[in-house]
């Protein structure tokens, strides 16, 4: 064989190897989605609406679903405005000491072990209040959500070409008006993406809830100072039980969580594709 052919063969082998590794890397993702659907669908179909609305004793995960929605809603209420403003600040004052610190701190916060956030909130809120609460869980989730939203906001603003910034200021707009009335609306799609990714991220978080929400699955709690449930936390609890019946419910709950996640994530991906066109 000539040197040329050997080289070509090597190249093909190499490409094949990379392709195979890529498939290998993503295969768990597809396996997770497949097995969650496969195992979860039976439970949901056999119990129908009870699974969504019923209490744990009825064979449903209603309080956990409501709990997740309450937690995500409250976390968004607390976290989104702050994170948005922080992201805009980092964009608008990139050279200031605080601006530079903000950018580094956001990166650290993004990678921070989430269980430590739970421990922190437990000390700050749960212990003094003497009870687990939706508020404590929401605060933990807000802390985890904020860096995502802030980083995405910052990035979306930075994508705006400089010409538009020039244009806004050349019209004699104040900084506040130029930024919030012209540039932010221009970046709204990117910012919204960050918001949804932040929400999707915390909707599935377990660790920060372990020491904060308490987990309440037999009653529907009203009031943010009472313990609540959450789907990921419920899955964690059910899996630890030896009962097969509980494992089945965990699969069903996993499917619900997956659907919520995909329900947020797929629109985000689709809208991202739209931006490029």
């Amino acid at each position: 064989m000539s040197g040329y052919n050997v080289r070509k063969l090597k190249e093909k082998l190499f490409l094949f190897l990379i392709g195979a590794l890529t498939v290998l890397m993503f295969s768990p993702l597809f396996h997770i989605i497949y097995s969650v659907f496969n195992n979860g669908i039976h439970v949901i179909l056999s119990r129908r609406i009870t699974f969504i609305t019923g209490r744990l004793s009825d064979g449903g995960i209603g309080p956990a679903i409501i709990g997740t929605f309450i937690l995500v809603f409250l976390a968004s209420l607390i976290g989104l405005p702050v994170a948005f403003l922080v992201g805009v600040y980092a964009y608008e004052y990139p050279e200031s000491t605080l601006g530079k610190a903000t950018k580094s701190l956001l990166q650290i916060m993004l990678e921070f072990p989430t269980i430590l956030v739970g421990v922190f909130i437990m000390q700050m809120l749960v212990v003094p209040m003497g009870t687990y609460s939706a508020l404590a869980g929401a605060l933990s989730l807000a802390i985890i959500m904020m860096p995502y939203v802030a980083v995405y906001t910052h990035e979306a603003m930075r994508q705006i070409p400089f010409e538009y910034r020039d244009a806004a200021f050349s019209l004699g707009l104040t900084r506040v008006k130029a930024v919030f009335r012209v540039l932010v609306p221009m970046a709204k799609r990117g910012i919204l993406t960050g918001v949804l990714i932040g929400i999707a991220k915390v909707a599935g978080e377990t660790a920060p809830l372990l020491f904060t929400v308490g987990g309440s699955y037999q009653t529907y709690q009203i009031g943010i100072t009472k313990p609540v449930g959450a789907i990921p936390l419920l899955i964690y609890t059910l899996i630890q039980s030896p009962a097969k019946e509980h494992h089945e419910m965990a699969w069903g709950a996993s499917l619900i969580l997956l659907l919520i996640f995909l329900g947020i994530f797929i629109p985000v991906r689709l809208s991202l594709r739209e931006v490029k066109v």
Binding site: E95, P161, E163, Y164, R165, D166, A167, A168, F169, S170, L171, G172, L173, T174, K177, R181, V182, P185, M186, K188
Partner: protein
């Protein structure tokens, strides 16, 4: 004595420690097209941005000396740059209408956000007036709610001109407004300049001596941050005083 639209006194601009405008004195009479020409990188855009204090968006940039607009030094300590920018319109090298706003809103936004109109009718009128002034009205009057992405490059640039005119500026700064426009669009914008100078003073940056010769009444030649020559356009082109100017207008110099 002719009344001056703009005058600079020993204007210097630095980026960090690098001086890019090196003590320029120039006078721009009212109601003329004043061309600022020179090779790429000589400091034309920088100087133009000193005329509406837009340079201040860049924290590296520092200005020394005076820029007087209708007699008032805009770098005096009590002058608000926001006020200056409302009185001095600017058009850029790359047509930059806001892509997320309709044609109408692009023209209206400066007026709206600065609270310069009292009613919707007044706003409608002013938008129409500005679009007519920019010679764009006939082309867009039936699609004011469209987005600027559907316009040609030349139309977009005229939209930006309308956006600036809507503010009723005293001076209009234009930084190579036809650099990214096709020949037909360029011709329209150049014709527009003749109309506009009846009411406005236009300072036009161009790297093309031919364009300066076509459209301007006065021309200044800037080279490496220094003002080499300034005078009535015909005089500068036909009988330049400086060797460098001659080389530039005949195309010997980049």
């Amino acid at each position: 004595m002719i009344e001056l639209a703009l005058e600079t006194r020993d204007l210097k601009v630095y980026y960090g420690n690098n001086m890019v405008i090196k003590g320029v004195n120039l006078k721009v009479p009212k109601n003329v097209v004043f061309a600022l020409m020179g090779p790429s990188g000589c400091g034309k855009s920088t100087m133009l941005r000193a005329f509406n204090r837009l340079l201040e968006l860049n924290s590296e940039a520092r200005v020394e000396g005076e820029v007087r607009i209708l007699g008032r030094n805009i770098y005096a300590p009590n002058v608000d740059p926001i006020e200056v920018r409302r009185e001095v319109g600017m058009v850029f090298q790359y047509p930059n209408p806001f892509p997320h706003l309709t044609i109408y809103d692009n023209v209206a936004i400066g007026l709206k956000l600065n609270g310069l109109v009292r009613s919707k009718e007044e706003l409608d009128k002013r938008v129409e007036w500005a679009l007519k002034k920019a010679a764009l009205w006939d082309e867009v009057k039936d699609r004011l709610d469209d987005y600027p992405s559907n316009l040609s490059g030349g139309q977009r640039q005229r939209l930006v001109i309308a956006r600036a005119l809507a503010m009723k500026p005293k001076i209009l700064l234009m930084d190579e407004p036809t650099a990214n426009i096709d020949p037909v669009g360029t011709k329209k914008i150049e014709e527009l300049l003749f109309e506009l100078k009846k009411k406005y003073t236009i300072i036009l940056v161009t790297h093309s001596p031919a364009q300066a010769a076509r459209v301007s009444d006065y021309v200044a030649f800037l080279y490496l941050g220094e003002l080499i020559e300034l005078g009535p356009t015909r005089k500068v082109f036909e009988n330049p005083e400086h060797e460098l100017t001659e080389q530039y207008v005949t195309g010997v110099l980049g």
